[in-house]
């Protein structure tokens, strides 16, 4: 040990008897981070072995021990090591900005996602670097992280006006397919009615798969800077997973199985092939899920049992959000870029061409839907059921055109696109 130096250090700290492994490194880290490179800090400790460890700690953290000595005072002796702060920055990023304003809350202590996005210290970037990392909103990124290569890097291509509100609503409207359906009500239907219900439920479940896969396919392509888009897609995916669950449960609960029809498979396959986000949104959200809103509404009103009605009603609620997003997104896309209109029309036409062999709803399905609505195979009921299905088909057509108009297409185009929509409904 040397004698104390003549000059004084920039600062000093008495670490007492705290040791490495017990928090001394944390204490030192805060002190050294606050110092400038090149400044000296005298670290005093009552432990001789800690003093012997200090040079090694200093070196391993990019600093250097310069000298050490022993001091004796009224409380006994203490050991001092003078350390010069190195130049290594612990984090390769600019200093954190000083603490800013707190985030706004709404009545009832509510912290809304819309407010999070709008009040964040930095606006969401419109066209971030395609290599952007997994960096939460407002975080200061350190350089040296890995590069990503996102495919979807323009916020305008993905956004819809009410997206954060819709996400928020999705969170508060969660339901549980295990307990929120009165499942026992589904038991005991006559065989032919149960077979019809199982077939319709199987059909719907098939379609829910594509509604699950389409947003799932786009989510990992979305630039990680777009937290609003990510949260929306994730909520959509979560909704659809539950739809797959609830309709599969209803299909099988009575012991009956249904067909997964090739025509349905063909239709869904062609939808999943669409690689353009806005075109997929038109095909899935506006046309497919839009048409399903009418179908689910019909089933919730005409189901032969309360469980089936509940499944349809709960899914119907979610589909309204999905359709809302699609209409709003497609309308905005066309407004921002008029060239997108022919592209959107082209996507519907191209899909229709692939599905040219499909003519009308499958007879198996038509029959099942009719029996489901009739509630029995008695001829009087069947007549009522058939009339109901005919009315549903008309309603679907009318509403589809209405939604296409709302999405920004003129009347003629809306009719044209509605005509081209898949007979499979989704």
């Amino acid at each position: 040990m040397n004698s104390p130096p003549q000059d004084t250090a920039t600062r000093s700290i008495d670490a007492g008897d705290i040791e490495f492994g017990d928090g001394l490194e944390i204490l030192l880290s805060t002190v050294f981070q606050a110092a400038e490179p090149g400044q000296t800090i005298d670290v005093a400790t009552s432990s001789r072995s800690t003093a012997l460890e200090l040079p090694g700690w200093a070196r391993s953290t990019g600093h250097s021990a310069e000298r050490d000595w022993k001091e004796t005072n009224g409380n006994g002796q203490r050991f001092v090591v003078r350390v010069r702060r190195g130049e290594a920055a612990p984090v390769l990023a600019p200093d954190l900005p000083s603490r800013g304003e707190p985030m706004p809350l709404r009545l009832g202590s509510q912290f809304h996602t819309t407010d999070l996005v709008n009040a964040a210290p930095e606006r969401l970037p419109g066209s971030p670097d395609p290599g952007y990392g997994l960096i939460p909103l407002g975080a200061v990124p350190e350089s040296g992280g890995p590069q990503y290569s996102w495919r979807l890097n323009h916020h305008d291509d993905l956004w819809a006006e009410e997206i954060t509100d819709l996400t928020e609503r999705a969170s508060s409207a969660q339901w549980d397919a295990t307990v929120d359906v009165p499942w026992n009500e589904a038991l005991g239907l006559p065989d032919d009615v149960e077979r019809a219900v199982a077939q319709v439920m199987t059909f719907i479940a098939s379609n829910e798969y594509v509604a699950l896969y389409v947003p799932s396919k786009f989510l990992p392509q979305v630039n990680s800077a777009f937290v609003d888009i990510l949260m929306w897609l994730a909520s959509h995916i979560h909704d659809e997973a539950r739809h797959v669950e609830v309709f599969t449960k209803r299909a099988l609960i009575g012991g009956q199985r249904g067909y997964a029809l090739a025509s349905t498979q063909m239709s869904l396959h062609s939808l999943l092939e669409e690689d353009d986000f806005s075109s997929a949104s038109l095909l899935l959200n506006v046309l497919g899920e839009g048409t399903f809103i009418d179908l689910l509404g019909f089933i919730s009103r005409n189901a032969p049992d309360a469980a089936t009605a509940a499944c349809a009603r709960l899914a119907h609620r979610d589909e309204q959000r999905h359709v809302h997003f699609g209409i709003s997104h497609v309308r905005r896309s066309q407004k921002l870029d008029p060239d997108s209109t022919p592209q959107l029309i082209g996507a519907v036409e191209a899909r229709a061409a692939k599905l040219a062999t499909l003519t009308g709803l499958s007879p198996v399905l038509l029959e099942s839907l009719t029996i489901l609505a009739a509630g029995s195979t008695r001829s009087a009921s069947l007549r009522r059921g058939a009339a109901g299905v005919k009315e549903l088909t008309r309603l679907m057509e009318v509403n589809r055109i209405r939604r296409l108009r709302a999405a920004g297409f003129d009347a003629e185009t809306a009719h044209h696109l509605s005509e081209l929509h898949t007979p499979n409904l989704m």
């Binding site: 490495f20 460890e53 090694g56 070196r59 990019g62 290594a88 920055a89």
Partner: protein, 271 residues
Amino acid sequence: MSGPTLLVGAVAYHERVVPIWEIFREYFSARDVPVDYVLYSNYERQAEALLDGKIDIGWNTNTAFVRIRHVAGEPVRILGMRDVDSDWATLVVTRKGEGVEKVSELSGTRLALGSRDSGHAAILPLYYLAREGLDAVNDCELIRFDTDLGKHGDTGDSELRVLRAVADGEAGAGAVGAPIWASLKAKADPLISGLEVQWRSEDYYHCNFTVLGSMDRAVADRWSAALLAMDYNDPSLRYAMDLEGVKKWLPGDEKGYATLTEAMVQQGYFG
């Protein structure tokens, strides 16, 4: 203008040596002092290659450097070393509460040492302890862990065995390098939770980049300047520098090898 590609030798003491040199190779070539690298399994073979002119630059331990200088028959040059090599030290540790005031109190104990070709865990401990009044060879029972011979202690394996021997009570004290102790301490490794440092040697030099004196001076200077210009705050280098355990490269000279040279002579390493 870029000169001829220099061949650097390094010992593959760990698989991380490959990513380190892949990144360094890119760095040097961007600085117009292109290098390629050759990996050896032991420092003896690498020393031979340097002396035979098969490689231009050797990344040597202190033990290897002293040996090369001893047999070279010509002056050798140091082109740089890590910050951590400039103030390496050996620690003597015991179980907590032993209260060793002077190392001479360790007379009669069992002293654990690392590989016999490790400067910091075997050769220098004996040398420095003798200077402090402990003739460990005669007054202690030495327990040597001669693992990974040829790697000169780089793998850290023998030091971990030293620490385990002390923790288990098989040895009363043990000698290890300050860096391995600091890294175990930083991760609160339970292996050393019951141990404490009793003594720290003076600082000495550890590894360096060695070239023979016959190497073209201007080329050597340019390479050394490029090495010393590596910036730890450059994100493209931080990963490799972390793997290499360096935050700053320093020029280095021969003065920090005096004690090891004397120790190796005394302990008969040159026959």
